[in-house]
């Protein structure tokens, strides 16, 4: 008689997957991917940023598959991204050329180009709008059409070019209040192609921060701001808008500046924070100048971009006192896929290691050989 192994695992998994689908459809409605794409901008922007893959369509499908669970959706997108070949690299983008939809500064009352509130929750009252339950598609389209008419008229009277609004940071730069830098043409280190080692360089840090899990980045930025960091920032400029992307002509061997192809726009949130720092001049005198903390994210992720700008500056200014200035502490613990993966791995069976621990615990209770010799 031959013994065979009990095959429970495969079946258990199959049933679990079925059960998961059951949870998604049991209320007898199926969400349309298009509806997600149209109405869940916030979640789409968040997962695009955390997965560092810009595709509203793919994000929408992932969100449907994950039933809105951002941890799972980001996981799906990252795994997808992992298999994609790199066909082109865009030219470096100048955010001066952003088509601005929203743009504010906390540092100055008035700025060249003006404070443009744009689409923001900041000025809404957070009261649940129960009218949304009965909102019909027709009502929404009617409202949309009349609003678009108004927009069209106002565009004809605009006196600023939304494509070339000056940067607030240039005001400080002109006055000489910012640290001076030579513009760098160094190639950034792609952290998805080569794992980071310490000490990291700024391009690596910024990449890890922008891909960071939104909650984690905000929490740590909050800690740095509130008590556990040496930063006193003011938001110099926050802008949200579309950035045009260009690739060098793939068919030409020579590279001219004008010989480039426009491939589309992405929406980003960019924050430049001003942080005063004490510096020692060559003559020995101490002065205060401004550091810039930089934050940028795919999509409209304002809180995350602000927190990122704080943490960027924390990591630029080592300080043994605070963990928020420690690059290993910050950079190794904010990635959604890594942190949720390791955390959830605790659900995996650990009974072998536990058995080993039991053995050790029992031994220590027995006392071992030398415990009597050691007083």
């Amino acid at each position: 008689m031959g013994y065979v192994a009990v095959k429970g695992g495969t079946m258990a998994i199959e049933e679990s997957i079925k059960r998961l689908k059951y949870e998604r459809v049991k209320k007898k409605e199926v969400i349309n991917v298009k509806e997600i794409n149209c109405g869940m901008r916030g979640l789409i922007d968040q997962v695009m940023s955390e997965s560092s893959l810009y595709s509203e369509e793919l994000a929408s499908i992932s969100i449907k598959q994950a039933e809105g669970n951002s941890e799972e959706a980001v996981f799906l997108l990252r795994a997808y991204r992992s298999t994609l070949p790199r066909k082109h690299y865009t030219k470096p983008v100048e955010t001066h050329h952003m088509f601005v939809e929203r743009r504010i500064s906390a540092s100055f009352k008035d700025i060249p180009g003006g404070q443009i509130l744009g689409a923001s929750y900041d000025y809404t009252h957070r009261l649940i709008d129960f009218d949304l339950v009965e909102e019909s598609k027709e009502e929404a389209i009617e409202w949309l059409e009349s609003y678009e008419k108004v927009l069209k008229n106002s565009h004809n009277h605009m006196d600023i070019n939304l494509n070339s609004i000056p940067k607030v940071v240039d005001i400080l730069r002109k006055e000489g209040l910012l640290k001076d830098f030579v513009e760098s043409t160094k190639e950034p280190n792609d952290i998805t192609k080569k794992s980071i080692e310490f000490p990291t360089d700024r391009s690596q840090r910024l990449q890890v921060l922008t891909r960071g899990q939104t909650g984690a980045v905000i929490s740590l930025g909050y800690a740095a701001l509130r008590a556990f960091g040496a930063v006193h920032p003011t938001v110099g400029e926050l802008r949200v808008g579309g950035l045009p992307l260009y690739i060098p002509n793939p068919l030409s061997s020579e590279q001219h500046d004008e010989d480039e192809f426009y491939i589309g726009d992405i929406k980003v949130t960019e924050v430049e924070s001003f942080i005063p720092r004490s510096v020692k001049r060559p003559n020995g005198k101490h002065e205060i100048e401004f550091d810039i903390g930089y934050g940028i994210c795919f999509g409209q992720n304002e809180t995350k971009a602000i927190a990122m700008s704080l943490l960027d500056n924390c990591l630029e200014t080592p300080n043994d006192k605070f963990p928020t200035h420690n690059e290993e502490f910050i950079l190794l613990h904010i990635d959604s896929v890594e942190s949720t993966g390791f955390m959830s791995h605790l659900k995996l069976p650990h009974y072998v290691t536990f058995q080993s621990e039991l053995d050790s615990v029992r031994k220590t209770r027995k006392g071992g050989i030398q415990s009597e010799d050691i007083i």
Binding site: R281, P282, N283, G284, D373, I374, I375
Partner: protein, 279 residues
């Protein structure tokens, strides 16, 4: 022909600066600096061409106020910081400038050739490990792999510094300041280093505790014949311990000689001030 005994430790032109220096100060001419820094560029010259010898079995005192460069010099000698330039030779170790050896060799020297006791016990001890564990750390670094041996040696050392055996398993964070210093001394002696560096080890302790620790140092020197360098801003401590003394001010050695001679007949104006304030 008088034969001079070879020094066990030689320091030549040790220079430590914070800052890049500028044309005004880089040559360290007379009057280029205000105290120990350059007004033009803000560079601080913590140690300027410090040179001295230490002879086998003696205690060399290093006295100076804060900012004199004495602690910087010690931390450079123990490789806690990198020197800007300079040479160090230990006669019982290879004939090579120790400031240029590999990090592996520096670790070896810190474990076996130099012992260090810091003013702040946090720097010299692992506060969350047992006292005997702290000593074992050094023994393990030297290659010991025998628990029994390490326990014996640890007990022996703790005994020497008057730490009762029943406190052996306790972590130093539970000890008083004076006891922590004694554990540090025991740890520094674990591998019988020929040279012991003591940096302001009694500063901050109660006077009676200070006296205890100083007595211990004298006892160690008597019984083990270890060469020591004792840094202190307190001339009283120096007088008690040191055979010879060097006086530092603003990063330079301004006077050196037999401790008794310096106390009786100080030459430099600053040394005179120090001595008169003592008496």
């Amino acid at each position: 022909m008088i034969e001079f005994e070879n020094p066990i430790l030689t320091i030549n032109n040790l220079r430590k600066q914070y800052g890049d220096g500028c044309h005004h100060c880089i040559d360290l001419e007379e009057d280029a600096l205000e105290k120990n820094y350059c007004v033009k560029c803000g560079t601080i010259y913590a140690c300027q061409d410090v040179s001295f010898n230490v002879y086998h079995g003696e205690i060399l005192g290093v006295v100076g106020e804060s900012g004199s460069g004495k602690s910087t010099m010690m931390s450079c000698m123990y490789f806690d910081q990198e020197v800007t330039s300079g040479e160090a030779y230990i006669s019982t170790y290879e004939d090579t400038n120790l400031f240029n050896v590999s990090s592996q060799q520096k670790r070896y020297i810190r474990n076996n050739v130099l012992g260090m006791v810091y003013q702040n016990p946090l720097l010299g001890l692992k506060m969350d490990f047992s006292s005997i564990g702290n000593i074992a750390e050094k023994l393990i670094s030297a290659g010991c792999r025998n628990i029994g041996e390490m326990q014996l040696r640890g007990q022996e050392l703790l005994d020497h510094v008057k730490i009762p055996t029943f406190r052996m398993k306790e972590a130093p964070k539970n000890f008083s300041g004076g006891m922590q210093q004694r554990v540090q001394i025991a740890k520094a002696l674990s591998n019988n280093p020929p040279i012991l560096l003591l940096d302001e080890i009694t500063t901050g302790l109660d006077l009676s505790v200070q006296a205890n620790v100083l007595d211990l140092i004298k006892k160690i020197q008597r019984e083990l014949g270890i060469t020591m360098i004792v840094v202190s801003h307190d001339l009283g401590v120096i007088r008690m311990l040191a055979d010879r003394t060097i006086v530092m001010l603003n990063g330079k050695i301004i006077e050196q000689g037999l401790t008794d001679q310096i106390l009786e007949d100080p030459q430099h104006q600053y040394t005179q001030q120090l001595v008169y304030s003592l008496l």
